[in-house]
Amino acid sequence: MNKKNIEKQDFGKVVLNEIVGGDPKAKKQKKSVWKAIQIPVLAIITGLFIGAILIAATSETVYAAFREGFFTGLGQAFKEIGTAYLALITGSLGNPVSIVAALKSGDAAAIRSAVNPFLESLVQSTPYIFAGLACALGFRAGLFNIGVEGQLFMGAALATYVGYSITGLPVYIHLPLAILAGALGGAIWASIPGILKVTTGGNEVINCIMMNYIAYRITTFLLTGPMSRPGTGGMPVSPIIQKTAEIPQFFQTPIRFHAGFLLALLVAFAVWWVLFKSTWGLNLRTVGTNPRAAKYAGLSIAKTTILGMALSGALAGLAGANEILAVNRSMAIGLSSGYGFDSIALALLGNSHPVGVILAALLFGVLKNGATRMMVVSAIPIDIVTIIQALILIFVAAPAIIRSIYRMRKVKEESIATVTLSSWGGGK
């Protein structure tokens, strides 16, 4: 009797602590946050470190300095690395000195160009957020949506069409319509492999890749044919969208920061809510984690799979629509710099969690934006940044490397609680 009582009390306390993160557990909680982010953080640091070595090793001047003497060489190497990374940081986050100076001078144009690097990074991050969410949602539903790129193109095409062809609508109708058209385009394109998977058992990975090829060709055809801009002599670009379909930019040139970034945050919140707070999300996650138990629980695997693909595709379509409506304002063939493929990496880096995806997307945006600056300032090829990105991803995807570098203990016991990507490799 007595024993039971004690147990009951303990139990209530445990639950309470879990919910409010009460103080006895505060320390543990902090530890577990660190646990969750330690691999990505260490991966970034390691990636930058190896990047530094590469910067030095590929620089002619460093070699020249080494020929003069070891320490001269070393000094030159550090100098090169310093300039490069400084350029990377100021190019992506801004230079505090010039920001302060601009603010003091009170000159609007100066202020704009001083804070632009940071805002431009956000602009660059926006499509990454959408695309990363697309992939993350797929993973949660047990689907390996490698077709984000194709869905992005189809979404962009539909959004462009709605954007330029319809006239005379007020902004508050036209803009949402164009955005939804983007989502719809992606959703339709993604549901095709979804439907193929449930009706024929066709592997979604293969089919998504094929759908990517088809999407490229279709958009090329559209842009050179039915959707080509009159008077360009067959250049593959679309007409410019109507003013009423534009996602607004907030500032004057050179700042391109636009409402699409805020939309991306909103959508990320919505994805989080759907995944973790709604029955739809629980359906998706149940099917994604254990299809047999999902069937037992009465879910329709077929319906849920198609829905999962469609939702994932809708997010991919939003990535495309965002680029058109907020940044480019017309569609061209070089619309995406591989956002669709990077999205897999983003989802992985962000542990398929919307917050993680946002952070990963910010990182990618910062690196991409800073890389341009780095190239200008220190003549370091932009490819170095691509290599750094790739290294970071390898370290995230193969955490054993990071663990052995930093001699971390294996955490086999916890592995059960992490997300399982049952569809990796595409199996059923």
Partner: protein, 520 residues
């Protein structure tokens, strides 16, 4: 002679649970040590530490009086420790030989795998220890009992001296279990040493040389199987007296709740595995389906619960035709299902206990309003069920996959029995449970029956079937070859029926019910 294995002060802390609390254990050469303990006592954790899957927080392991550190299963094998897992680690499409070779492939000159050599060695091992297998069979074609033998051969092939069996009999039929015991005996006779975990007290008394009992992570006592009896052991494990007999009053059956007529079900290979089966289950009645595993019970249950399409025939539940209806429809009509394979069908392992406790109902009030999940209600529900069903978990927000096997089963039972239901389909509801929990779950099933619920119980355990059932249908090769009244049937008769032999005269039921419904 020094003991072959000594564990000293082994301690392992998991978030929220002290799974092992300074455990001392000795294993002598050539003996079978049985490890007894209730669900969640920490047996599997201790064995996983020994096998290098977990690292202890404290304590040391001595093999032949020498201190060893075991970081991985590879280390364990090197030290001579092998483990037969409850979930086999075999590759189904490989042959026995290939599975045994895996991980320690012998190569001939020129880098070719030396299959014949391994096959020969397997034959030698199987002769020496009476482990009958054919090295060239594909593993997926073998029955579970033989697959387990392959696991054992794998260990012997790697020259393991200490063998760990974690609930090996949970997946076996009683016949297969008896064969396993013969094998274990022959192993220890030839100098191997065995640690054996089971919840079945009969098995412990039959094969063990020594018994160590663990409760809540601590060793609480030793027992000698020659002098101990079941009740004593049960009490030692659970810490209170246990009644091993089910109290059940005779009740007149109510109206028909589940009616199955001429049901035919095929398996994946389009073989007819349920062959024109008909039966009724009445309100307030338990119909037990006995039979050696693999005689169509699994498919019968899947067809009744909507998990598998039937070929022909009909299923009627409380006046509604549910032939080939979706599981959700059948569930919403008031049926509950305890599935045979808990990890594959019954649970989503990475999800929390709370979420798993509403797996079939989360889309309904009060757990959802529209599409919005009501996590406070889900949590409240789980807190009360965890308490009612004595589920040992650090918190309802723990991932269900980290619970001990028995506690995972309790999560399913709690979920299914806590709903208002007219029909309960229970496949091996007490698989892997300790005696205390079995007692409790039997009570709950009988209570459901007394409330007027119809119960379809499938179990290969004759004791369980006889204790709980009002009537017993025996399945053999897809047919129900006899239906008998549970009050006046003996284990022997059932045993014969399960082997497909229908005795000339089966004692007829008092209510004049036709007892032998179909013959061949």
């Amino acid at each position: 002679m020094a003991p072959i294995l000594q564990l000293k002060g082994i301690t392992k802390q998991f978030p929220g649970v002290l799974a092992n609390d300074h455990i001392d254990l000795t294993l002598n050469k050539g003996e079978i040590l049985a490890l007894l303990g209730e669900n969640g006592a920490g047996k599997s954790t201790l064995m996983n530490i020994l096998y290098g899957l977990y690292q202890p927080d404290e304590g040391e392991i001595l093999v032949n009086d020498k201190k060893v550190t075991i970081h991985s299963p590879t280390d364990a094998i090197k030290t001579g420790i092998g483990m037969v897992h409850q979930h086999f680690m075999l590759i189904p499409v490989f042959t026995v030989t290939e599975n045994v070779m895996l991980g320690s492939e012998p190569v001939k000159a020129g880098d070719f795998l030396d299959r014949p050599k391994t096959a020969d060695k397997i034959r030698e091992i199987s002769r020496q220890y009476k482990l009958e297998v054919n090295p060239d069979d594909r593993v997926e074609d073998l029955p579970v009992g033989v697959q387990q033998r392959v696991e054992i051969i794998k260990l012997l092939y790697r020259e393991a001296e200490i063998l760990i069996f974690d609930e090996p009999t949970a997946v076996l039929t009683p016949q297969e279990a008896d064969e396993l015991f013969l094998i274990m005996r022959s192993l220890v006779k030839q100098g191997k040493s065995i640690i054996f975990i089971t919840h079945k007290l009969r098995e412990v008394l039959d094969v063990a040389d020594r018994i160590t009992v663990i409760r809540r992570g601590k060793v609480v006592g030793q027992a000698d199987p020659k002098t101990a009896n079941k009740n004593e052991l049960a009490e030692m494990m659970v810490g209170r007296a246990i009644s091993l007999v089910v109290q059940k009053e005779v009740k007149a059956p109510g109206k028909i709740v589940l009616s199955v007529k001429d049901l035919v079900v095929a398996d994946q290979m389009k073989q007819m595995v349920v062959d024109h089966v008909s039966f009724d289950v009445h309100a307030g009645q338990v119909l037990g389906v006995a039979g050696v595993q693999g005689n169509g019970q699994t498919e019968l249950v899947e067809a009744v619960t909507g998990l598998r399409k039937s070929v022909s025939g009909s299923v009627d539940f409380g006046g509604t035709e549910i032939t080939n209806a979706s599981p959700r429809k059948i569930t919403s009509l008031g049926s509950a299902h305890v599935p045979e394979d808990r990890q594959a069908d019954g649970l989503v392992l990475p999800f929390t206990v709370a979420e798993n406790l509403v797996l079939c109902t989360y889309y309904q009030e009060p757990f959802a309003k529209g599409v919005v999940l009501q996590y406070d209600k889900i949590l409240e529900n789980s807190i009360s069920l965890v308490k009612d069903f004595d589920i040992r978990t650090p918190s309802p927000l723990t991932a269900v996959g980290t619970l001990s096997g028995g506690n995972q089963q309790k999560v399913i039972i709690a979920r299914e029995l806590s709903r208002p239901i007219q029909l309960l389909v229970a496949s091996q509801p007490t698989r892997g449970l300790d005696v205390g929990s079995i007692e409790y779950i039997h009570k709950r099933i009988v209570q459901k029956r007394d409330e007027g619920c119809a119960v379809l119980l499938i179990s290969p355990e004759l004791d369980e079937i006889i204790e709980l059932s009002d009537r017993i249908a025996v399945m053999y090769r897809g047919k129900i070859i006899a239906t008998v009244n549970a009050d006046n049937v003996t284990k022997e008769t059932l045993g014969l029926l399960m082997a497909g032999i229908v005795p000339e005269k089966i004692e007829s039921a008092p209510n004049g019910e036709k007892v032998v419904e179909t013959t061949f």
